[in-house]
Symmetry: C2
Amino acid sequence: MKIAVDAMGGDYAPHAVVEGAVLALRKIDCTIILVGDREVLEPLLARHSHAADRVSIKHTSEVVRMDESPRKALNVKQDTSIRKTFDLVKSGEADAAMSAGNSGAAMLAGLHVLGTLPHVDRPCIGSILPTTNGRVVMLDAGANVDCRPHNLVQFAFMGHALAKYTLGIQSPRIGLLSIGEEAGKGNDLVRATYKLLRKSDLNFQGNIEGRDIFADNVDVVVCDGFVGNVALKTAEGVVQALGTRLKDEIRSSIFGRFGYLFMRPALKRFKQRFDYAEYGGALLLGIDGIGVIAHGRSNPVAIMNAIRISDEYARIRIAQRVKEEVESSAELKQSFGDKVHQVFEHIKEKKFEMDTKESTASEKGD
Amino acid sequence: MKIAVDAMGGDYAPHAVVEGAVLALRKIDCTIILVGDREVLEPLLARHSHAADRVSIKHTSEVVRMDESPRKALNVKQDTSIRKTFDLVKSGEADAAMSAGNSGAAMLAGLHVLGTLPHVDRPCIGSILPTTNGRVVMLDAGANVDCRPHNLVQFAFMGHALAKYTLGIQSPRIGLLSIGEEAGKGNDLVRATYKLLRKSDLNFQGNIEGRDIFADNVDVVVCDGFVGNVALKTAEGVVQALGTRLKDEIRSSIFGRFGYLFMRPALKRFKQRFDYAEYGGALLLGIDGIGVIAHGRSNPVAIMNAIRISDEYARIRIAQRVKEEVESSAELKQSFGDKVHQVFEHIKEKKFEMDTKESTASEKGD
């Protein structure tokens, strides 16, 4: 597989990206196109002559910075590394695009260059996370901050496809992230989405709570991008806080330090399992091609794993698989669409009641 | 201090609650009123004759179950343990109310019986969580699922007061939970709230991300109750998953088991620090009196700690402190109120633009 890598994206780019790409070439049977400033990249790559035959550089002169507005940056800058990375997928020169840069810009570039799949209004970010005994698909992990119920239903369909082809589960269990298991629990968005998913022919398990994400109760966790991103980063923060604290506790006594010598392999396996650097990247779902975004703080190991994931997604042609799944449920979606419409009508009436009752509904959620 | 305890509330009630109350009487200089069915509670209490002089029973005949709609249950049932628990605070017979039962019912009962503080539209749940090196106040932890910007601003003021009097910080650093640190990041609610908090004279630090909750960057985390509850339970789930996994890794090798013998004290301190059972309960903020809600799954140790926390809140008269803080900023709130109004006007216009553009805005978030 050929992987186009945005060499200028990420907090430690381009150094960490080049190092990660070189690591990937050692471990994975793929070729890599590094996209970015040739003058910067060539000297970095020159240190690794053994990699020379399977890596090339595609020159671009501009970069979308992490703190830039993705939309503005992509409008103004015509020759950015992130856009060119997706261009290579569009033209067929690469099988997948990977970036550790501004994830909003990656989403937008992917969307503009590759377009969306049929039946998908808004693409989203699908993450695969380690659980107590397995893995779980979570989406949206951060692309869409204010969603409507039918967006979440589309995420559920795409999550179904992702879990089916990456976790190998024929009928993945879908859970809706809420704050209680009962049907009536949650905010307005979740309560309306619940009704729609209940009527779909997905294997919908109902609401789940935050603690269920890692408990192997479901295979797919559906939520809006704001909630999903907060949950993901909270989990990351807890892992980090626990790690630091555990280290401190162990160091605080001579017995602890002695015991650590024996437990090191176990602790290392443990750390590996929950370290984002081992997990690689999240998939842009709903675009017509493969795009993987890695953590902004990616070190070379994280970059290598994101390239590995990109290679795997390219091998199973995940975008095509998702497309087939979504299209095969078109008939279902037809009848389903009517139900969506009915529920929306109901919501409109309810909303109107609220308007007249409080006459402040326009402030709501805004 | 006299603590009224809802003896019928919680997954393991009444047994765990009675056991926890007895434990608390051993460790804490307080008296306890157990509220619930006398016929059930008397035999449980009879086993602990040493506690007899500092515990009494207040009889009630009804219970709000965990799966009941709080509003309906409290409307229909007139003699519930949760309502009576707050009645005892209202009448001055108790200094604080504590329940591990249906937290929605506890919030509603507290609200109806004790009323809200001036300048507070909606009470919320304030949790104090362990961080890498200290503690952080998080609110709302689950009471209000669909919020408006001014609700979050009020949460921030109450969080300021709670952090000031429990963490002992004169000017607590306030963070707004979002999905990026820049001002423009977040959903509509967060972006509008950011503008309001920026104009307040709170020590507002801007947006924080999920991973910052536990990183000691701020003293107060402000969010709506849906997001707060998801974040809290996600954190709980991660702690649980990591604990299980760590145990498995340690057990999987003879070296691991040997090392564990030496590390046990360190691991125990570590577990204690992040175990919810050690943390007791969350405070109902914005009601005119003290109410503490404990985890539904509370075991006797968790109940004991929730009673300990209730006793501490009663000693520092936290409700009165929050009231003073909110009232003392009344002048500020006056001028501040105008700004709130201006921002809302702006939002209304923006919303109107969206309505006319998409003519589907009524589906939004609903």
